[in-house]
């Protein structure tokens, strides 16, 4: 009987398996993944991979030898169909069953898809996995024009990659600015200018009415009636967590699979981590208006997947320690590296360090005098320092924050 079964073989699943071993977990570990590949790096899929700068052979997350050494059995190309909690077993799509003492959900999320007329036309793409990225890269080589629907991270990174490949790009976004959920207006404005400078055209506050074409997409029509030619469409509309399996076996699900700060679900034998899990994040919750510290939320990032998976692994090994890591995230678009730490929503004051026009600056967010977040553009040193300052809950002097002659990390004792 397998001791730990992990459903989902990407960042959270892999980290959970390795961290369980590092914590001394001695039983069998089986990780089940529905893709045909062993776990692989996803950030390059919307960046260097799309630009043809790296191929799939550069993407493995860990070597097969590492999984073997750690006695982690990887079962790829197999889907978990049903969990029987009383009998403690998982039914798989190949007809087999695996018993468990502990179970982990790291099932991730899937792309939200278009529902408008024409959504089923050919050459309409989404980006989540390697197969998606291959299809987009292939379509780009045959396309002169592309429409990207959604001005979030995926949409903007794909737009940047397509421009780099010489495709004409228009971005359609429902909100009146880019990355509305993720960054304050000053960063949205900066990035929009960067894209416009590269020739990307924007349609903000715009909704797609339908996709037009015969077999394959040829254009999109906006609610305004405007028609934009498109040899290909990429829609980055956000994701839907893969919670159905957890829901079907009776776990508490509220947007994500609900876990506590120890990554425990409503069943003490079952943990969850990654994009599918909703957990109380002390850094993101403390700043929301009227939001208590225990509210569960999903955080879609590699940092969250890795750190919550480490928490889950410690819990399984009997060394429970709560989730405490400061969230961070990054995006590369053209020559700009945007890095985000902590939270920007709920800030009362923004301190700008450096000159936005130079393309190298840091925006720091304060609430009640405490540093709660920082967005940096081409300033990795400030990003790394800010992560430490946010974790230490420093209350820095805003004048010192904006003084570039004072290294951020020296403000740790402030």
């Amino acid at each position: 009987m397998a001791d730990l079964v992990i459903i989902g073989a990407s960042y959270a699943g892999t980290q959970l398996a390795l961290a369980a071993r590092a914590n001394g977990f001695a039983g069998n570990i089986t990780m089940v993944g529905d893709e045909p590949h062993p776990p692989y790096q996803r950030p390059p899929l919307s960046k260097a991979f799309l630009r043809n700068e790296v191929d799939a052979s550069s993407l493995p997350l860990q070597s097969p030898e590492r999984f073997a050494e750690e006695r982690i059995t990887l079962r790829t190309g197999v889907t978990a169909l049903r969990i029987e909690r009383e009998g403690r077993k998982v039914e798989l799509s190949d007809g087999s069953e695996i018993g468990y003492a502990h179970l982990a959900f790291t099932t991730g999320a899937r792309c939200r898809t278009l529902t408008c007329e024409g959504a089923g036309l050919g050459n309409v793409h989404y980006l989540r996995n390697l197969a998606d990225a291959c299809a987009i890269r292939d379509a780009a080589s045959r396309s002169r024009t592309a429409v990207v629907i959604g001005g979030g991270f995926i949409g903007l990174e794909v737009a940047a990659a397509l421009r780099t490949l010489g495709v004409e790009v228009a971005v359609v976004e429902m909100q009146d600015r880019l990355l509305q959920r993720a960054v304050p207006p000053l960063i949205s404005t900066f990035l929009m200018r960067a894209h416009a400078h590269q020739g990307v055209r924007f349609h903000l506050s715009s909704r797609v009415r339908r996709l037009l074409g015969h077999g394959s997409v040829e254009a999109i029509e906006l609610e305004s009636g405007e028609v934009i030619a498109a040899d290909m469409v990429v829609a980055g509309l956000g994701v839907v967590p893969n919670v159905e399996l957890a829901q079907a076996c009776g776990l508490v699900v509220d947007n994500g699979i609900v876990v506590d700060r120890y990554a425990r679900t409503s069943d003490p034998r079952i943990v969850a981590a990654g994009d599918c899990a909703a957990y109380p994040n002390p850094w993101l919750n403390a700043v929301g208006q009227g939001v208590g510290p225990d509210r569960c939320m999903r955080v879609e990032s590699i940092q969250s997947a890795n750190d919550l998976a480490r928490v889950a692994a410690a819990t399984l090994a009997g060394r429970a320690t709560p989730y405490e890591a400061v969230p961070w995230f990054w995006s590369d678009q053209y020559g700009y590296k945007l890095q985000m730490a902590g939270a920007s929503t709920g800030h009362e004051q923004i301190v700008l360090r450096g000159d936005m026009e130079s393309g190298k600056f840091t925006a720091l967010y304060l609430r009640d005098g405490t540093l709660i977040g920082a967005d940096t553009v081409n300033r990795p040193i400030d990003h790394l320092a800010a992560r430490r300052l946010i974790a230490a809950r420093v209350r820095p002097d805003p004048m010192a924050l904006q003084d570039e002659s004072i290294p951020l990390k020296s403000l740790a004792a402030a």
Partner: protein
């Protein structure tokens, strides 16, 4: 095919065959070299693929660009004159036999 020798935290060494065009980080992951985390997947964003380059090979590498130089300021182990981010070093025949040391910690 060039080979790279990684000196691990415990002092043992691991020699790995490296394809030209791959990065020192990718070679380490594919070769099951412990102690190179590379949390961002080689996007030069996280400073967790830090290595120390053996003195004899340091001058054969292009100097770090501004982004790498800044990230090196944030590595978890001590930064020395031999510190580099392994995701930024591209393997070529000229680096055949290179020796790099894995730092005591990455994060």
């Amino acid at each position: 095919m060039p080979t790279i020798t990684y000196v691990l935290k415990d002092g043992n060494t691991k020699t790995v065959a490296a394809a030209n065009g791959k990065t020192l980080m990718e070679v380490a992951i594919a070769g099951n070299v412990r102690g190179i985390d590379a949390e961002c997947g080689g996007c030069c964003s996280c400073a967790t693929c830090h290595v120390y380059i053996d003195e004899a090979w340091l001058d054969m590498l292009p100097t770090p660009d501004e982004m790498e130089d800044e990230l090196l300021e944030g590595v978890a182990a001590a930064r020395t004159d031999f510190s580099r981010l392994s995701c930024q070093i591209v393997i070529s025949d000229a680096l055949d036999g290179m020796v790099v040391r894995v730092p005591e910690k990455q994060g």
